[in-house]
């Protein structure tokens, strides 16, 4: 099911951050929100998942107007949302197993055995076996990301949000995480939203891309159209690195 955002506006203390953004995040696809630092990507995502209330506009999950709901009404949508935070946001007093089990304990009626099975299934899916009893501080950043993904998919969400899943990871691990997100999206037909400013990710998994510039939806397209667009801001973004510039030289 799709997520539609309709003319979202959001400001803090009088400064407008989001200036009327509209977009449709499509089901079964990895939808990307890209843009420069400070362009409003995180604020937009927090508005979509309801961590911030929008000043104007609406967010619609599978036909239901999320923005118009109160806290209690939102709950059934929230339990269908999995989110991967920029810093993983694992509960550091819980072990890996307890972290992944947490949403199951809170929102499912599974028995203890069923929960453990589900936890092990999710951990296996992110290639993290036999780490159940370690604590977040005892595993690497890449592993933490994978635990966070396992936790995000524990309840079989329809919607998956990932805020800069690659930040702090080396290029190779980044691609592993990107592909994991992409594959999970296809497997469970989720509506996945990935925030990134990493061109590698864009080229790897960019199926439906929105480029935000100063709080506006500046451009939409996919990974093929983004390298050929004539738009100046996009060009500056895509070809910011020396590597991409040289690549462009080779291609043309």
């Amino acid at each position: 099911m799709s997520i539609i955002v309709n003319n979202i506006q959001k400001g803090f203390n009088g400064t407008e951050i989001l200036k009327g953004i509209s977009f449709e995040f499509e089901p079964g696809k990895t939808n990307l929100i890209i843009g420069q630092s400070g362009s409003g990507k995180s604020v937009l995502t927090k508005c979509i998942v309801g961590l911030y209330e929008v000043d104007k506009g609406e967010v619609i999950y599978g036909g239901e107007n999320f923005s118009a709901m109160n806290k209690a009404e939102r709950k059934h949508i929230r339990t269908q949302i999995g989110m991967l935070f920029q810093g993983s946001a694992l509960f550091d007093s819980y072990s890996v197993e307890q972290n992944v089990m947490f949403p199951l304990i809170m929102f499912s009626d599974m028995s203890k055995e069923e929960m453990i099975d589900r936890v092990n299934f999710c951990l296996k899916r992110v290639q993290l076996e036999n780490k159940n009893h370690l604590f977040p501080s005892e595993i690497s950043g890449g592993m933490q990301k994978r635990v966070a993904i396992a936790r995000a998919i524990a309840l079989n969400p329809k919607y998956l949000f990932c805020d800069e899943p690659n930040s702090g990871l080396d290029p190779k691990t980044s691609i592993v995480i990107d592909n994991l997100i992409h594959d999970l999206t296809k497997e469970y037909n989720m509506t996945t939203v990935v925030i990134t400013h990493d061109m590698n990710s864009v080229m790897e998994i960019g199926e439906n891309i929105m480029y935000i510039h100063k709080g506006e939806n500046w451009w939409t397209g996919d990974k093929h159209s983004i390298v050929t667009t004539e738009n100046k801001e996009i060009g500056d973004f895509v070809y910011a690195s020396e590597f991409m510039k040289q690549l462009r030289g080779k291609l043309s």
Binding site: I81, M83, F85, A89, D92, I105, M106, F107
Partner: protein, 248 residues
């Protein structure tokens, strides 16, 4: 934000904390965990402080009465009164407001900083209820015991120093402890303690929960300091109010 806005937001937080929990079993588990981290882990420092406070009280009282007109058991009496009425409740709670308070503020503040609170909220968990309620309940439950233990140990510490240093005989000391004993003094002290316990749990939770994440670790540290200052002042104020109305 001014003081009134803080108080308003604080009251809203308390209201959110007392919403029905998602799962009672999870609350129970967190409660036991908090009883341990707030209460049990403070026992050794409380024991040490109480023994020493009782001992000092005995020495102080003895050295200040060198008149033959004042009976020797007064030492026991004075120690009992000061331990039970003020030292074991107000003093111990002030000290625990520092220890427990800075713990709670940095724990919740760090959860805010590292987006763990956002993670709870996105899942659909009422994060205030999940994080703060177990701390309130655990404090209300364990602090009266801590204060009772402190009373007992304070009197024992006084007795030890009194008899060992030859200040007073054990009989006279015990006689002093029993002299005009009014059990209401313990009720009064425990009554105060419940208020202290509530604020020792909630004020640091408040400062931790609403820490400004863009301030980073520095801001979390400051929230600890702020909560210790604020809860100490609230304890002193409540102590004055309750004492005024109950004892005057």
């Amino acid at each position: 934000m001014n003081l009134f806005e803080h108080i308003g937001r604080f009251i809203l937080m308390i209201a959110a904390a007392f919403k029905k929990p998602e799962k009672w079993r999870v609350l129970g588990k967190n409660f036991i965990h908090e009883v341990h981290s707030i209460g049990i882990s403070s026992l050794s420092i409380v024991a040490l402080l109480s023994l020493f406070m009782g001992a000092v009280m005995v020495i102080q009282t003895a050295s200040n009465i060198d008149s033959v007109l004042i009976p020797a058991y007064t030492v026991g009496f004075a120690t009992r009164q000061s331990m039970i009425l003020e030292f074991s409740s107000t003093m111990i709670c002030l000290i625990l407001a520092g220890k427990v308070g800075s713990n709670i503020a940095s724990e919740i503040g760090t959860m805010r900083l590292t987006e763990q609170i956002d993670a709870l909220e996105v899942m659909g968990v009422n994060s205030i209820n999940h994080l703060v309620l177990p701390k309130i309940l655990a404090s209300l439950f364990i602090f009266p015991f801590i204060v009772l233990i402190s009373m007992g140990l304070g009197l024992i510490g006084g007795g030890l120093i009194g008899t060992q240093a030859g200040i007073i005989t054990l009989e006279k000391y015990i006689m002093g402890l029993q002299y005009y004993f009014d059990p209401f003094s313990i009720t009064y002290s425990l009554f105060k303690t419940l208020f202290f316990a509530f604020f020792i749990a909630t004020i640091p939770s408040y400062f931790g929960y609403y820490v400004n994440p863009s301030g980073g670790a520095l801001e979390v540290g400051r929230s600890g300091t702020k909560s210790v200052v604020a809860s100490s002042m609230v304890i002193l104020l409540i102590n004055l109010i309750i004492t005024y109305f109950l004892l005057l």
